[in-house]
Each structure stands twice: as C-alpha cells, then as structure tokens.
C-alpha cells in the first residue's frame, strides 16, 4: 500500500499516493545506510543475511547450532556497533567499486576526526564482524579506513548558520570537538574553549606519537576550523568564568575530560619522587621536555627499570613509551588476569612483542625504598577478583604470595579524575559529554558522546527531536534466499595489518602501524561478505524516490509501479 496519510490543521485527512514503490537490487546494495537515514517515512531497515556455519571443515571456525547462528546474525552488525553509526560495509563497498572519494565522504561526514579514528579507533565494528566470528579473520576495517584517509583529500563544507542561539563548549578534546562540530552542523554559533595551547585534549597529551602522529590530529582540527568552528585555546575557565559563560551563552556543553591521574594513596610512600601518574608521564613524553626544575625530580627513564601499575590501554601506552625512551625493562602489573585485563588484546600483544613484561593478578602492597628514593615495590596476589556492573572492583589478597620487583620508577595508570568545578548537567542549559560524563572512554565513544550532547542541546533549545539524533537502529533478518555460504566465497588471504619491525619500533616514535598499499587495501575490501543490505517495507514506502536519488552506489534502487 504505497500511501501516506497526511492531516494538516483545518483540512481533511488525505492520502498521498504516487503509485510507485522502491525496489532494492540486493546483490548490488552495499548497505551504506544513506537511504535508511534519509527515508522520510522510515520505510527502510537494515537486513542481515544468514551466514551458514553448519558443516565442519568448511572454514577455520567451528560449527554452531542453528539457533545460535540466527541470534548472532541479527544481534549486531558493523554499522550498529559503530558508536557514530557509520557503515563500514558501505565505505568498503564503495571503495571496492572504485569510488574512494564517496567512500571517505561517508566517514568524514559523520566523524569529525576521521584521520584520528583511522589510527587509534578501537574498532568495535571489527569485533562484531561476522567474517571474524563465523569464517576466518575479521575485516581490517580500520586498515581500510586508514588507506582511504591517506589517499583521499576532502574539504568540509562551511557550517550553515540557521539559529541565533550561541553555545559554548568547554574542552577541545574529542568530545568537545565533536559536540562543536555537530552543533555547528545544526546551525548554531559555537565557541569551543580549551585551557591548553593546542586543541586535542588527551589526543595530544596522553596518546603516544607512535600510535597517533601529531600531524593527523592537526589535519583533522584544521578541517573543522576551516569549516568555521571557532576554537579558542589557552582559555582557562574557573567557576566564575563558567558562571559568566552561562549568562552569555544559551547553553554550555562541558567536555572538560578527566585531566588528572589517580594515585595509589592507600599504599604508604605513594608520593615518592619517582612515582608518576600516567598523565604526567605521557605529557612529558609527548611534550619532549622535563617540566620539573629540580634535576632529581625529572622523569629519567633511560637505562632504568620501571613498573607500570594498571592494565588498561593507558598502561600499555606508557609502558611502550618508557621502552622507547630507553628504559631497560618495563613490567606491567595489574589486578586482572587473562581475558579480564582491560586493555585490548592487540595492544597487549604489541606491547609484549616489544618486550614489555606482564605480572597479572597482583596488587601493590608496599613501596620499598629510603626517603624519596624508590627501590622496589612489593605486590601481593589478588584473589576473588570481581567487578560489578557499575565498574566497582572488589578483591581480596593472599598475603602469603608476595612478589618483589626492584624498580627505579613507577608509573601509576589506574584511571583519571575530573576537575570538580563544573555545574551539574541539567538537560536544559548544561550538558556533559566525554570522559567527564561517563568515566574513561575511547576516542570513538567520546565522539559519540559529543554528538549525543549536541543533539540534546538542539532538542532542549528547539523542543524537537531530530530523526538522526540517535545512531542506533534495529536489524531484521533477511529472507532465506539471501543466505551466504562461506564455502562459495573465494578465499582471500587476510592481510595482517602492516607493522614496523619490532626491532625498528623501539628506536623511534614513528607510527608502529603502516598503511595498506592500494593492492592490499583492494584485496582486503574484497573479503567483505556483505552481510547487510537495505530492505524496504513496501507497506510504508510512499514512492517518493528519495532513496534512489541519494544512493551513492547508483544503480541499486529502482522505482517500480506497484
């Protein structure tokens, strides 16, 4: 029934019927989501194909029960896994068809920091990639994105000015920049304030250069600034200034992050000279200078042995940075064991490759040493480790199992905390985004958080809810005839992410990961199974033709007489 009922004030209800309905060529559709997002009546959903995993020996992965395959196939796709709602299958498909500009456009239109994400996104999309779970290895989605980033030039269109309201964003980290970008895109006048001299927040301060070269951050922020985002650096805001801001601006978005490292204050002597927080240490490494005046306080790691306490991504980064600065040996000690270690597996593997040692399941008991001079740390075995849903960790210790690690310096990477000066989020004029709003999060989560805050601001000011405010969408199962049989697919070798040789890595701060060549990228793109496609609900479709017009692939959607 290709009709829509329309009722305006003072008129009678009438129906719109153009007599056409959209039809998708499922074998051509790359599931980019453009039509789904722009359909005026929401008639398009993402369908997920069923991937056979019934017979043994057909692929590397073990067989599964039918019910499990059903559940898995419709639970998540790479698109729903992306916090920003970008469709990897879409840009991979476009790139495979030679439309690299259009492919990268899909990324930068939705992601304010595409180059940054192409280097350090923790790629939740790859973790749910069905090829990874059901066939062999997941698609190297970030690798393809990185290839696109390195090979495609783009210019952001200038932001429109549609509204009179002025919004202040505090903090030019990923969350703040994202909030600023999306608010500007919505047509507000936005000013982003940052206390540091360089925008980027933790990207600049805490992430080591061997994971994210500085020019990538600058490139992204430059594009935002060129499009008209007003970023004011070196503006530190205190309580009184925030009050002024609240008077001056219609809404403020607090994205000030968590700039201070937590310390282990419950273990005596925690304040020895050679005990640094991870943030202090990374700030030192990235700024390439000692900020202490007294030589005995300086961060000296060359030729020394060190311990990093903590098991998260920051701990891995600091350990690897310390090795690059010439530390003789670095041991990472964390409460968790095995799969519970919070760092991503590949981070741990890369660190281990470079020679970082691990001691899992131990908690610091005592710093050993004489006045202000650290000589070693005693650790005790952790038992009954448990983490509740709020992230609160409880554990006991077994005092009979004590390990002493002799060490010259200790880096504490057990989390960060925020400045307490910011007003509470009230949903009307004050909004929080990023780390400060919900504990530590990765870059892509921070970007999504900033986006959410931006739409919340719009919603509060205009008293409306935009259709694209939420990035999530539901999946439906594709019909039986769309099944994918992996044994039919050409087996294409997975290109491991190209990396620098381990021996070379430790000598410098160059990016450890390399970019795919054109051929490698193309072969990787070919591996995509294409699990998803756009499915049109013919009951809802009004035949307007919007989807056909917007489709970046071109010949996917046709309008047929009903």
């Amino acid at each position: 029934m290709t009709t829509i009922r329309v009722q305006r004030e003072g008129t009678q209800e009438f129906t719109l019927d153009r007599g056409y309905v959209a039809k998708v060529n499922t074998s051509r559709c790359i599931n980019c989501g453009t039509c789904r997002e722009n359909c005026p009546v929401g008639a398009i959903t993402e369908a997920q194909r069923w991937i056979c995993r019934v017979c043994p020996e057909c692929t590397d992965q073990p067989v599964m029960r039918l019910q499990d395959i059903d559940d898995f196939c419709t639970k998540q796709s790479c698109t729903t896994a992306c916090p920003l709602g970008i469709s990897p299958q879409g840009y991979i498909g476009l790139a495979r068809n030679g439309k690299e500009d259009a492919a990268y456009r899909m990324i930068w239109e939705k992601n304010p920091l595409p180059a940054v994400c192409s280097h350090i996104c923790h790629h939740p999309c790859e973790q749910v990639c069905k090829r990874g779970v059901l066939v062999d290895d997941p698609m190297a989605i970030r690798g393809i994105k990185r290839y696109l980033d390195a090979n495609v030039e783009y210019t952001r269109p200038a932001y429109p000015r549609l509204h009179d309201e002025r919004i202040a964003v505090i903090g030019a980290g990923p969350a703040g920049l994202s909030a600023g970008h999306f608010l500007s895109s919505l047509g507000y006048e936005v000013t982003v304030f940052d206390a540091n001299n360089e925008p980027g927040g933790m990207l600049v301060r805490a992430i080591p250069e061997f994971r994210l070269p500085r020019e990538e951050i600058r490139k992204d922020i430059q594009k935002l600034a060129e499009a008209g985002l007003d970023i004011q650096c070196g503006v530190r805001l205190g309580k009184a200034q925030i009050k002024e801001l609240r008077d001056e601006y219609d809404a403020i978005v607090v994205a000030a992050g968590t700039p201070h490292g937590k310390e282990i204050t419950w273990v005596p002597k925690w304040n020895y000279d050679a005990v640094y927080t991870a943030i202090q240490f990374m700030d030192f490494a990235n700024n390439d200078q000692n900020t202490y005046r007294m030589p005995h306080q300086n961060f000296v790691v060359e030729g020394k042995e060190g311990v990093v306490i903590g098991g998260g991504s920051v701990a891995m980064d600091t350990a690897r940075t310390a090795l690059r600065l010439g530390a003789k040996k670095v041991t990472v000690v964390c409460l968790e064991e095995g799969e519970y270690v919070p760092a991503h597996k590949w981070e741990k593997d890369e660190a281990a490759e470079e020679g970082v040692e691990f001691l899992e399941g131990y908690s610091p008991k005592a710093y050993c040493g004489r006045v202000n001079t650290l000589e070693g740390i005693d650790f005790v075995k952790v038992t009954d480790y448990a983490k509740d849903e709020n992230g609160k960790i409880t554990f006991n210790t077994d005092d009979s199992d004590v390990r002493h690690i002799p060490t010259d310096f200790c880096i504490v990477a057990i989390g960060q905390y925020a400045d307490p000066i910011y007003p509470e989020a009230d949903g009307k004029t004050v909004f929080w985004a990023g780390d400060i709003a919900g504990g530590a999060c990765s870059v892509i989560d921070a970007l999504a958080s900033g986006r959410k805050a931006a739409f919340a601001v719009d919603s509060a000011i205009q008293e409306r809810t935009l259709r694209n405010a939420e990035t999530g969408h539901s999946l439906v199962a594709a019909p039986r005839e769309e099944k994918i049989y992996p044994c039919n697919r050409r087996k294409i070798l997975h290109h491991e992410r190209p990396m620098q040789e381990v021996g070379d890595r430790l000598k410098n701060f160059d990016d450890v990961e390399l970019t795919y060549t054109k051929k490698q990228a193309y072969q990787e793109e070919l591996r995509c199974l294409g699990c998803g496609y756009a499915m049109i609900d013919t009951d809802k479709c009004i035949g307007c033709g919007m989807c056909q017009k917007l489709c970046p692939q071109g010949d996917v959607i046709s309008m047929v007489k009903k």
């Binding site: 009184a240 202490y292 006045v371």
Partner: protein, 409 residues
Amino acid sequence: MTKLKRTALVIGAGPGGSTAAFYLAHAGVDVLFVDKETWPRDKICGGVYLSSLYPMLKDMGCFDAMYSQQACNITTMRLINRKEDYIVLDVDPFMIAPRRFTDDQIRRAAIREGADFMENYEATSLIMRKGVVKGVHGLYHNEPMDIEADVTIIANGAHSELTRQLGAFMDDPDMTMYCFRAYVDGVEGLEPGQAEEYYVPMGLNGWSPICTTWLNPHYEGKQAVLGLTITEKALRETGLSSMEFYEYWKNNTKFGQERLKNATLIDKFRGWRLPGSRKLAQSVYPGAILIGDAIAAAETAFEYGIPSAMVGGQIAAGVIAECAAKNDFSFEALNKYQPLAEEQLNPGLEFNGMFRDELLNKEEVMDDFFDWVKKHEGYPHLSFSGMAMEYMSTVLGLKIGITENLRSQ
C-alpha cells in the same frame, strides 16, 4: 570575554600561595593560582611546620593526612655549640614532613575549596598599567600566555623575577643564607622526637660567622634530614665552598664523627638561597601583595619560613576578600595588609634577627648562654625560644618587643 581575566591571581602554589588561594576561595573570590612546576614537586627545605600552623592546617582539612602519614613529630631540640658542649631544650612541638607531600596537600585543599589551579605556568613579568600591576605575562607549557587580574599575590619564592621588577627584591648579605639538604641513612645516636642543631666551629680562619648544621630525624627509622645553613658572609670570609663546611663538620667534630660514622647519603646535597629580614619590608604595591620568601619574610633560627608565608597568605586573602566585596582594589585598600602582617610577623622576625646578631654570631655569648641554661633553675622547663628570650632580656639587657603570645612558647 577577554582571555584569562580573574579577580585575584596568586603566583606560586607553595604553602603561602596555596594558603592565600584557599582563603580567597573560601571567601568566594574568583581566584586562580598558578605554578611553574608540574605537581607534586619537591622543595629543598628542612620541611618544618610549627605547631602554630596546626589550626590553619586543620581548617584546610589536610592536617590529619600530613601528621599521621608522613610527619615526624619533634618535641625537644639538642643544641651543640662550638666547644662540643650540648644542651637539650623543649621546643614548641613541630613536625618535619617532606615538602613534596605536604605542599601538595595544601594545594589540594585550595583546589577542593574551589580555587582554580594551573600548573606549568611560569610568570615572567608583570603587566603594569600606569604603575599598577594588572596581571602577569608568562609562559604556559613554554608558550606565551597572559593572565589579567584585579589584584596579584606574588608568592613565587626567593628568586622571584616579579619582585625584582617591583624593586622589592631583598638581598641583604648579612641575612641571606644558603641552605643545603640531603637525606641520610644509618645515622646513629639520634633520639626519637629530637632535632639537633650544631653551631659549627670553624677553626680554620679563627672565628667565622654563622654556619649551622642540623640533623632532624625523619619518619623512617635511622634516616634523617641533614642540612647546612651558611650565611653568605661566612662563605665569603672563609673562602670555603659549602661542601667544605660539611666535610669539616663531618670529619673534625665529635658529634659529626659519631652521628655519621656508618651513615650514607641517600641522595645528593641540594641547596637553595634563603633571603631573610629583620622586619617585614613594604609588601604592598599598587595591585599586588608580596608574601613569603618573595619579600624575604623568613628566618631560619626558629624555622620561621613556612609559617611566615602561610600567615602572610591568610592575611592577604582576608584583605583581598574585603576589597573584592567593595570592588575597591586601590593601593589604600590593599595596604591594610601591611599593618596587619607587621603585627603578626614582625615580633618573630625581629626576635630571630636579634637572636642571630647577639647570640649566634658571638662565640663567647653563645658559650655563656649554654652555661646560663645549664645553671638556670627550672631548666629544661622553658622552651628553646623562651630560654633564649629570657637570657637576652635578663643577661644581655636587650629590649625585646615581643608579644605575650610568643613569650609563652
């Protein structure tokens, strides 16, 4: 909105600056305090916090942490004169705590109270308009950044460039001291809760101006804080280096040999210049108040460095809070600080100066003082400063303008 404009700006986040920031924030004044270091930072210092500061530290909510975790509590003091004779005197209890920890606690108290803090900001010069201080030019992470303020508290220590710019820099060769500190392990013969101070005999060039060595037990067993305090005059007249003073004391005196027989230095000697004054100099300038070492309101004989800075900070904060309430930051309004601070700080500074001139620097008088103390009925019931005061007024016949408050110590 201009970049970085505040009502009150405090340069330096040591005890003085942090105290000022704490009380300003407490009074609801918009305050930013800045420091050139990455915190927490160590400071070369004896680390003595007099008990007169305890109420203030309790106000800030950092006393318990300082007292229980890191401090060594001192109740008596052993003085050793140049003849290797010694007396033990009670002192008003004080604690010795590492500055890296204690200063950080005070700074955190100020931040908790609502003061805005910025580290790695080095103030390089003052913004002057028509002779009035309007803020500072500086470097933030080595890039230029200016901060404007209605009133600036300058608390950035003994080497302050800002003080120089105001023409308030104090450099009296009689009072300027060079101090050196190291931590030592394996010190023998120290009593718990007893600090020791040695007036070093310099037999090399006959009588020499003052050089003292102090040994304060630290909070961990046989470890101690070892320090030297030498006047600029002593260095100049004897022609010795600071380390030669130390070597002489260590090798040629009974106590030096005994205490450091099996001792090892944990780290190197590190030093700092400590300006002193006999009375508080003019501390208020249009738009600015100077506190602590920046205006040389410090004295070593009775550990009067940190207290002077913190008391100065507290008074300055009170005066500025009043100014902020009336929105009047004229020189006259700020200058209310001067009499208040003089009333609080001058007795201590004057007494310390006099003690130094009349007792420490005169060998015969010093020996006489030791004999007098030993003979004196009631010894050791009076405290160190009480005995010194009694001796100076009764035996030397000096007129000491000291408040009852200090006398009762």
